[in-house]
Amino acid sequence: MRRIKRNAIVSSLVAMSIVVHSVEMFIPSPFPWLRFGFANIIVLTAIALYGLRVGLMVTVLRVFLGTILVGTFLTPAFILGMGGGIGSTLVMGFAYRKLKAVFSLVGISVMGAYAHNIAQLTIVYLLFIRHGEVFYVLPVLLLFGILTGVLNGVAATYLTAYMARFSSFQFESIS
């Protein structure tokens, strides 16, 4: 029974993050690499409610299913999404585990956004463009990432509080 409930919760979180991620694609951006990362709202909520393991499951499944849906499975977009996603999820997961008394979800979200950008650009450098110039865009990405990190963190705070009210979303230590 616990297993079924856990699977149902993880599935709905994955579904939510795919929807949020897809909707984000329709928001015009001056640069294709400047994105809001709304899927992070769901991942952060998953971490806050159910722990790092569920957060990682949501991230990995979201990247797998999301890229299969839009046809970028196993392309550079997939590798970047996976690398950035896992990087930021790990940082947020450990930050929440160790520092939740100090930082709110907004602060943890900003850390995740920062980690996401650094992880992604490092992957671009290591795998695709071996040129130091790649890091030229890093300050722009990081600055924008802080802004989106705050927005996502505020959204995650509301979503966490909202979901915690429903018994169907309650699960004592499902990890």
Binding site: F103, S104, V106, V110, G132, E133
Partner: protein
Amino acid sequence: MLTLPDKILIGGLVIVTLLSFPTIRHFHHEGKRVVIELDGDVVGNFPLKDDRLLPVEGKLGKTWVKMAEGRVRIVDSPCPYKLCVKSGSIRMSGENLICLPNKVVVRIAGDDGEAVDAVSR
């Protein structure tokens, strides 16, 4: 919603990021050499600091490459749209000027540009 450590974290990251704008320039390699390619073959390699006016003889005629004050630009070309001329001047490593019709590529290399210091055809 925001705790005090949150504000310190966000403010600190903003400051660090803003400071990294000038710092990251040091990672950007200043161009050292000008490499000229014709139809894929390197036909010239010069130090960027030289002042020169070079004719590059392509299929359509002479593409004139001008090097001055640490910058390079194509001043005239026999191609129809003159996109290479309109590209302006370049000076940073990795930048390039391309004249597709005349198959001329002018690119800026870092220190590792080949050591040939003359037109080697």
